[in-house]
Amino acid sequence: MSRTIGICRALHAFDSLVLWQTFLEHLRLDVVVSGPTDRDMVESGARVAPAELCLPAKVFLGHALALRGKVERLFVPRMVCWKADGDRFYGCPKAMALPDMTRALVPELAVVELCLDEREGTEERAFRTLARDLGDGRAWRGALAAAREAQAAAEPAPDGEPAQAAGPRIGVIGHSYLLRDDALSLGLAAKMRRAGAVPVLSDRVRILNTKTPSRRARVGGKLGHLPISVRRRRAQGTSGCAMTCRSPVDIGTARKWGGVPFFPNWWFELELIDAAAALAADPGVEGLVLASSFACGTSPVTNDIIRRMVRVRRPGMPVMEVFFDEHSAEAGLVTRVESFCDLLRMRGPG
């Protein structure tokens, strides 16, 4: 069997690409990462996918289709369950069913999955199973250590304080696979800058939710599938959530916050609520933009929670919701961004 394996540069690859890629390379595989998203991928993905799927998942399929003929096998993560703070946290159903959906829609590629489910076993076990499925059951330990090291080294620097940038600072809340992929979010951040605002993206927010490390945190010091903000907080030495796959926010503390009506058990939404809370607490931030995809199942709940939290913690702060799908048009987005910025400017700071 050929030793080629593909990774889609979509969805959670925006958080964990280096980890996966290094791991697979250490198993002596030829890893091909699909190129940055282009319009063809968006369109081909939207063509094969069910119409009601969210844009990032459609684009994931577009990446998979683009890898046909280039690789024999395709690496697809399955994000199922994490345990934290005595509770269970889940990926969204789309992240949980991604390998099955890819198998059904791209039958030409043999899908190899990394199944992260702490109900069944640790992350280490998941990587061991992946290595075994790839025919190299013994090399996993070294490969995983190297992969974690590489991921730690590749952490992006936190967005520094904006150096006397003019214009209102606006928090942009959204998943990195949407905000960091310009083909999906149509260059939202750049459009905001052009409209004279300073966007602060949620995945690089300087999180305010810091506290002393919990018992859980002292157990390990490894890095893995953590959203970037958490890994960075760990690097700053402030996070209580240092273990692999540990929570994006310190759930125990966060649950005591005022204004958050309830915490959903969606792993990847906690980060958004956490970032929104931090941004709402920052008097320098004048408005929030909640960016999500049309037909994203979790965002109606998360956005509602964030709006309520803002209403309590920062009454009167303007919040705008933006949805993206494959039909989104740039002109409409520019208009909305400009009018939101105008609104903030007219209100003035504070």
Binding site: P50, D87, A97, D100, A104, P261, N265, C296, T298, P300
Partner: protein, 366 residues
């Protein structure tokens, strides 16, 4: 305590006597209608799924009728259904309604038990006796409802006057609601087959058979799907839903029918390794089982934007192709149109009839 609960289809028929026997008062607003839907749509986040909007509308109605406690099955998993109770609570609180949320989940069993005991004045022995009686009565009612509905479904495609089947079913349901004891219910249940046998038939003996699968609310609550089961029946189709109110209570409330769930799970395994909710695994498994049992087609219902319902579709499509069984997925929300739906159903039915006339049955049963 005046308790209200979200309900679908005829599930209120067994639930009301359960609550009454326990010593609570059940507040049951009428079945959902346009007005409830509009209310729910106005109050809910725009992109929430249709069961959320309808149950929210119905909750407002229940509170207007004086309910002080809302009982919800709830949980924390990846489907939005797990958050219905809590999200509706914050929405209803904003509107100024005050009530108690009784979260029916496994980790709240002590609280639920205390509530049940308090209904009997804190007398645990009395409460346990009442609970046993309530569940027995409820279960029999639920079984009687299920038997009537399935007899009606079996009779509808062949009936000379479809309206008579509907009338007979309504009468049977009213009798079941009125029955107070298990003995009465048993007598009623014995009489059900004869009641529907008495309806004159039109002489047609051959009907195409359709398996109805999909998300539970859409499958069980006729208002959302414009009563798809009845529409198909009136088009001369024998409809066999894999989920009914009774079976839903059995699977999720009483944990019975594990064998059947496992059979569906095993059948689905090749295409679907993880159940993510929305009856995805069951729907897929029953599509394959239906193909093996020689059904003529599968109709899949799900709310628009339902996460599990959407992701399972490609796998169902693939399985339907592999097993050679026609598959129709219908996505439902507040903008669904009855006419559009009927057109699609008619086209699907005539396609199944043509396949059957040409001797095309699902590949496996050939």
């Amino acid at each position: 305590m005046r308790v209200a609960f979200p309900y679908m289809g005829t599930i209120r028929i067994p639930l009301v006597p359960i609550l009454k026997t326990l010593g609570a008062e059940a507040v049951v607003p009428g079945p959902p209608d346009r007005e409830v839907l509009e209310l729910g749509v106005r109050l809910a986040p725009e992109q929430m799924c249709i069961p959320f909007k309808l149950t929210l509308g119905n909750m407002v109605r229940s509170l207007e009728l004086g309910a002080d406690t809302l009982a919800y099955t709830s949980g924390s998993w990846s489907c939005r259904y797990g958050y219905y109770g809590r999200l509706q609570q914050v929405i209803l609180r904003d509107l100024g309604y005050e009530y108690r949320l009784l979260d029916l989940r496994h980790d709240r069993i002590p609280e639920i038990a205390r509530t049940v005991a308090s209904l009997s004045g804190g007398d645990w022995v009395l409460a346990i006796g009442r609970l046993a009686r309530a569940l027995r009565l409820g279960w029999h009612k639920s079984a009687a409802v299920d038997e009537s509905e399935s007899a009606a479904r079996a009779c509808l495609p062949f009936a000379r006057e479809p309206a008579r089947v509907r009338r007979e079913l309504n009468r049977a349901l009213a009798d079941i609601e009125a029955a107070d004891t298990v003995r009465e219910l048993e007598a009623l249940r014995r009489g059900i087959p004869a009641r529907f046998r008495a309806i004159p038939r039109d002489g047609l003996e051959d009907a195409v058979r359709v398996k109805l699968v999909g998300e539970s609310y859409c499958t069980i609550e006729p208002f959302v799907s414009f009563d798809v089961a009845r529409k198909l029946g009136e088009l001369g189709v024998l409809v066999d839903p894999f989920l009914t109110g009774h079976r839903w209570l059995g699977f999720h409330g009483f944990r019975v029918g594990a064998d059947e769930l496992n059979r569906a799970k095993r059948a689905a395994r090749r295409y679907w390794r993880y159940c993510v909710g929305g009856e995805d695994e069951n729907s897929l498994g029953h599509l394959i089982l239906a193909a093996e049992q020689g059904y003529d087609g599968v109709v899949h219902l799900h709310p628009f934007g339902c996460m599990p319902g959407t992701v399972v579709q490609p796998a169902m499509q693939r399985a339907a192709e592999d097993y050679g069984i026609p598959y129709l997925a219908l996505s439902l929300d507040e903008h669904s149109s009855e006419t559009g739906m009927l057109t699609r159903l008619e086209a699907f039915v005539s396609m199944m009839r043509r396949r059957r006339a040409r001797g095309l049955t699902p590949a496996v049963s050939r």
